[in-house]
């Protein structure tokens, strides 16, 4: 443990180690680290080293221009695709499903490349997916419940119409 302790006169290294700890703790699973003392220090420094001589420029990855244009191209193609697919009848929900799949592919492209998630800390991707997960949870439970009791709304309306 003691070799993990940074010297006071090297604040930069200290901070580096500290935040590597932070990230490591999190991207890994916390409960894996019940005995965290030793495995940690090793990982922390390893990650710091990888950071320095990796492909990153400065503080983060730099995306090549050709890749940006390639992604834009793909996105535009997909936009055209989603518009043109509307004129084809794919059944009641078919069109919606296809449109959502295309939108999700587009979203994934934007996230992965434009938003750097491919090269970024995995924790950020996890966070973002969490938000989507909670969104789906919210949508699913609410819509499901709404559907379950819809017949009581219909019954009421039918009765109201009859009364008129």
């Amino acid at each position: 443990m003691s070799d993990d302790k940074p010297e006071a006169e090297k604040p930069a290294a200290a901070a580096e180690a500290a935040h590597d700890h932070a990230d490591h703790d999190h991207t890994g699973h916390d409960h894996d680290h019940a005995d965290h003392d030793h495995s940690h220090a090793g990982h922390g420094h390893g990650a710091a080293a990888a950071h320095a001589d990796g492909h990153d420029h400065g503080l983060a990855h730099t995306t090549p221009v050709w890749l940006l244009f390639a992604i834009l191209g793909a996105l535009l193609v997909l936009t055209v695709a989603t518009v043109s697919v509307t004129s084809i009848d794919l059944g009641a929900q078919g069109n919606l499903v296809v449109a959502m799949i295309i939108a999700t592919v587009k979203a994934a492209l934007v996230c992965t490349f434009f938003m750097h998630l491919l090269w970024d800390k995995k924790f950020h991707a996890v966070l973002f997916l969490t938000s989507v997960l909670f969104l789906i949870l919210f949508l699913a439970m609410t819509t499901n419940d709404r559907g379950e009791y819809q017949h009581l709304v219909d019954e009421y309306r039918a009765q109201q119409l009859q009364a008129k």
Partner: protein
């Protein structure tokens, strides 16, 4: 307002809680409570025991291990940081209790939510701030402000509301259901003891939420039909202003209008007929038969200045005869 409250306190119809055998729960008068009351008792005892256990432990530790003073610098005795057996016990035991409680609760819930097929059907309707209950008469629908049910017969209530959320709560039947405007909800019960039990509105609905009381009359065997026949005949025999006066009480007009000249939520009916009223659109309008009829069918069309457009529509709830009766009644209030 004070007058109104005094009237309420003196109201012989103010429901009374029936005497109960239980310290905690109100008198039990329905088969639907069969899955509820014993779970309740179980939980009360379980909670008392658990809480006592925790409290005794706290008290014991605090007295036994109390430090003399800070200056004494005592250290805690060595003790385990983990005790697997203990921890598993206090995790698994509550887990089992919880699973059991869930299952019992689920049973009770499904029971309360599943009316028997042969249940008789009644409509309950919430409006600010009165419950009305519809009964089928040979001549049409009878609307009453109290719930009458036969004993030992399953009753399914279709609940709805014309304005905001209300909740039909019958403590002695251990049941409750929100009245949601724009849809039905339902609940059922089967009364087991003849008597008179209170009904509350349990979902906050505004000014007189706490006065939105009613009561359920459980008729002994054979009495319900007699009551219904008589009530139907009585209601139908009336006509003209008498019918209107009757409806004034039954249909809940009295929650917003008075007949003594004091304005309430809506204008008073006294001296209303023939008056020129200024409407919220800035135009005066004479209160005549047409206006009154329109106000019952489409209440927000013309609202008298100084009053909120709070009245629900009575379209489909009042027959032509009813409307005529009400108009006659209003005319009679000079």
């Amino acid at each position: 307002m004070t007058l109104h409250l005094l009237a309420l306190l003196a109201d012989p119809k103010l429901p009374k809680l029936a005497p109960s055998d239980s310290f905690w729960l109100p008198a039990d008068a329905s088969v639907t409570s069969r899955n509820i009351d014993w779970v309740w008792d179980f939980m009360v005892w379980m909670s008392v025991l658990t809480a006592l256990g925790v409290f005794v432990a706290i008290f014991h530790f605090v007295t036994k291990y109390r430090a003399k003073s800070r200056a004494a610098n005592e250290h805690a005795e060595k003790s385990a940081e983990h005790n697997t057996a203990l921890e598993i016990t206090w995790s698994v035991l509550p887990l089992f209790v919880c699973i059991a409680l869930f299952v019992w609760g689920f049973k009770g819930f499904v029971d309360l939510r599943t009316p028997p097929k042969d249940a008789m059907e009644l409509h309950a309707n919430g409006q600010k701030w009165k419950w009305t209950f519809d009964y089928k008469c040979p001549t049409g629908t009878l609307t009453e402000d109290a719930l009458h049910v036969p004993i030992d017969r399953s009753v399914r209530m279709l609940v709805s509301s014309v304005d905001v959320l209300h909740s039909l709560y019958i403590p002695s039947f251990r049941t409750k259901m929100d009245a949601v405007p724009g849809r039905y909800t339902d609940l059922w019960f089967q009364a087991t003891k003849a008597g008179d039990y209170p009904i509350f509105c349990a979902e906050y609905c505004g000014t007189s939420h706490s006065d939105m009381l009613s009561h359920v009359v459980v008729h002994p065997a054979g009495e319900y039909e007699k009551w219904l026949n008589k009530a139907c005949v009585d209601a139908d025999s009336k006509s003209g202003p008498e019918r209107g006066k009757d409806l004034f009480d039954r249909q809940g007009c009295s929650t917003c209008h008075t007949v003594d000249g004091t304005p309430k939520i809506g204008p008073t009916w006294k001296g209303l007929f023939g008056k020129m009223e200024m409407m919220t659109d800035g135009k005066p309008y004479k209160v005549d038969e047409n206006y009154l009829r329109e106000s019952m069918m489409d209440p927000t069309a013309k609202v008298v200045q100084g009053f909120a457009p709070a009245m629900p529509t009575y379209k489909g709830k009042l027959s032509d005869k009813d409307i005529d009766g009400l108009i006659e009644y209003i005319k009679s209030l000079k």
